[in-house]
Amino acid sequence: MNMVSPSLLVSGLRKQFARPAVDGLDLNVARGELYALLGPNGAGKTTTLRMVAGLLAPDAGRIEVNGVDLARDPAGAKRSMAYLPDDPLLYGKLKPTEYLEFVAGLWGVDAATAEPRARQLLDWLDLSKHAHELTEGFSRGMKQKLALAGALIHEPQLLILDEPLTGLDAGASRQVKDLLLSHVAKGGTVILTTHILEVAERLAQRIGIIQHGRLIAEGTLDQLRHQTDAETLEDMFLQLTSQA
């Protein structure tokens, strides 16, 4: 059952604060897919991701992660995913090695699996030479890369990223993009939000556009192009969000 289920299945998701933040959202993201969720500020992207990550209880709707119902078995659903918000979840007074030990401990990864994985991730992300420094002195890019290493240490199937490339320089941005593509190539799933439309255009296999908490368009770049008379994703995005 789990082998054929989508990586993420969201149906009828609703959340209301002062006004509806997410209003009957449906999403279906297949395994091995890189899905970009786009939308203007306040469209409900972050609220959606926080509900999927189990950080916010929905008012209505259902979330399944790799076939596991998040409401019924939160620990089981969380075991196969990782969430990375735009502000990296780090501890300033921990060193990168200690941070990875901590995250691996939370996900219950055994030493034999975690150690080579940690070495590999620190090497890939150019963090090995900073492994003995406290993260409070890291640049924004280094922090983001370390948080990504933490998200990948337990080899999650589903990776949920909120604005992962904001504030990164060209080099760090390339490293993160390569890592995401490598994760997808190995069968993993990535769902990300971004305001950098070029990133979505180049990386994502499918794009969803959300406004006022509702999905107003979804598909591959070509499918979106057919829905509008625009050529670039930027024009499509502006056209779709101005119509809604």
Binding site: G54, A82, G108
Partner: protein, 518 residues
């Protein structure tokens, strides 16, 4: 009168305005910036009451015109020395804030304003900030003195401002010297710790009568004898200069004023360049010291609880400012230690109760740090780790060090008086666990740096904590009292019952109100 834009006076006006906004204007981010009228009215009522008190005090202590009783000079000097220590403490904290925390220094230093003007205005703002609270509480004495025909009491204004200027200059010089010797990052911690210690020094000094009591003399008697004899120091001694200045001796007040101006002027002249350098160092000091990269060593494979406890202890041990704030509570052990070396029957009672109260206070602080000041709560909640395991591990991380710390004193107590020791162990465990639970159920999340301000805006938690401390403190005193002595009476039994009800009832109430408090 409007100051020329860009002048030092103009900048000072900006500083005063900022001080006004941060102290008396509305602090709510949603409310429009403006006067916090309720707060102002409260302060005015308080100030009026202080004037009434000051009227009574001045009438009692003030001699005839031109008269200056030696005992009054001694009291004024002691008051001013104590005030100076507190001023030094505040000034050190303000200097660190000016140098490291204010977000507008880059803007000011990139403007065409001379760094000398910027530094002198910043130092003046530290002086005003430091003096303001003492002026608020002590100025009523000057006003009452004036109204009762003693205008010399008005000297309080220039003398307090002068003392604030000397304290602020010393604090700024010390902070800049520390930046030079230790670097910006360590200076921040050291200055904050020194600031806290300067304030705490007063507490230690206040315990000197207890030391005197060890020699068999009543502490109060010794103090009074010293007081009446002017501590054996000649009345004309310059040591009494601050007191005489405060009481309106023109020469003494003038000397304080000149010293203050000299301290301020010299500090500005000598250090305005190092001030700018200190700021540059602060800007580049976010990185931790690099160590040569050795082989990567990991300690994977621990369970969730062990991983969490290890993380919490690492974070606390690597934050010297946090440690200093928590360990300052150990200062209260000093009078307790004095009791330990005293040889009478009350010793086990006082030590047991003191240790119990200390553990309650320490547990509460540590529990707030590990439970409420979690830096990455989303990481914990997005993990599959069971929330109950996380809470249990965090409670262990908070209570463990406290119990380890008092282990030896409790063993010593048990060796001296076995029953008292066992009862102390019971009350210590009870108060430590209860305090941590109260924090878990009613605490408000905040940043670690807000440890000292954690009670603000959380009256319910403060009430629960204080009554919980009193309940267990009462039990810690009364249980061994009843168990050891033949004087157990109905009153003692009723006291134990009441204290027990509070000790166990308050955590239950905190649990009942947990949702409302969060």
């Amino acid at each position: 009168m409007s100051a020329r834009p860009g002048s030092a006076l103009w900048l000072l006006r900006h500083e005063v305005r900022m001080f006004w906004y941060t102290t008396l204007s509305s602090k709510s981010s949603k409310a429009p910036r403006g006067m916090h009228w309720k707060l102002l009215a409260l302060w005015l009522v308080l100030w009026s009451l202080l004037h009434a008190g000051a009227w009574f005090v001045v009438g009692k202590v003030s001699g005839g015109p031109g008269e200056m009783p030696q005992q009054l000079v001694l009291a004024a000097t002691v008051l001013l020395v104590a005030t100076f220590l507190f001023m030094l403490s505040s000034a050190l904290k303000s200097s660190v804030e000016v140098l490291f925390d204010r977000g507008d220094m880059d803007l000011l230093l990139s403007s065409p304003l001379p760094s000398r003007s910027i530094f002198s205005v910043r130092l003046a703002s530290v002086v005003l900030g430091v003096a303001s609270i003492y002026l608020l509480f002590l100025a009523p004495l000057a006003h009452a003195g004036l109204l009762q025909g003693h205008p010399r009491w008005l000297a309080l204004y220039p003398v307090l401002l002068g003392m604030a200027a000397i304290a602020s200059s010393a604090a700024m010089l010390l902070t800049l010297a520390l930046v030079r010797w230790l670097g910006a990052r360590r200076t921040r911690v050291v200055a904050q710790v020194l600031g806290a210690l300067a304030g705490a020094l007063l507490f230690i000094l206040s315990q000197l009568p207890n030391l005197a009591m060890q020699s068999g003399e009543r502490g109060e008697g010794l103090l009074m004898r010293l007081f009446k004899s002017g501590a054996g120091i000649d009345a004309a001694s310059p040591l009494w200069l601050p007191g005489r200045a405060l009481l309106g001796d023109p020469l003494a007040a003038a000397i304080i004023g000149v010293l203050a101006l000299l301290a301020f002027g010299l500090t500005v002249t000598l250090t305005h360049r190092s001030f700018a350098r200190g700021l540059q160092m602060a800007a580049g000091s976010t990185g931790s010291a690099k160590r040569p990269a050795g082989a990567l060593r990991f300690r994977f494979g621990a369970g969730v609880a062990t991983t969490l406890i290890r993380k919490e202890w690492r974070l606390i041990l690597r934050d010297p400012h946090l440690i200093s704030q928590v360990l300052l509570q150990l200062l209260y052990l000093i009078p307790l230690l004095l009791v330990v070396f005293k040889k009478d029957g009350s010793q086990p009672l006082v030590v047991g109760a003191g240790l119990t109260l200390l553990c309650g206070s320490l547990s509460s602080s540590l529990a707030w740090i590990v439970l409420m000041a979690e830096e990455a709560p989303d990481l914990l909640h997005s993990s599959p780790a069971d929330i109950r395991t996380i809470r249990r591990a965090k409670l262990t991380a908070a209570i463990g060090p406290v119990l380890a710390l008092v282990c030896l004193p409790v063993l010593w107590l048990t060796w001296r008086a076995p029953l008292s020791g066992l009862l102390a162990a019971f009350t210590i465990c009870g108060i430590s666990f209860g305090s941590a639970l109260i924090v878990m159920w009613t605490g408000k999340p905040g940043e670690r740096s807000a440890l000292a301000r954690r009670a603000q805006g959380n009256g319910a938690k403060t009430l629960f904590e204080i009554s919980h401390l009193l309940g267990w403190g009462g039990l810690a005193f009364l249980l061994p009292y009843a168990a050891n002595g033949a004087q157990a009476s109905i009153g003692v039994v009723a006291g134990i019952g009441a204290a027990g009800a509070v000790a166990f009832g308050v955590p239950f109430l905190a649990w009942v109100f947990r949702h409302r408090s969060h």
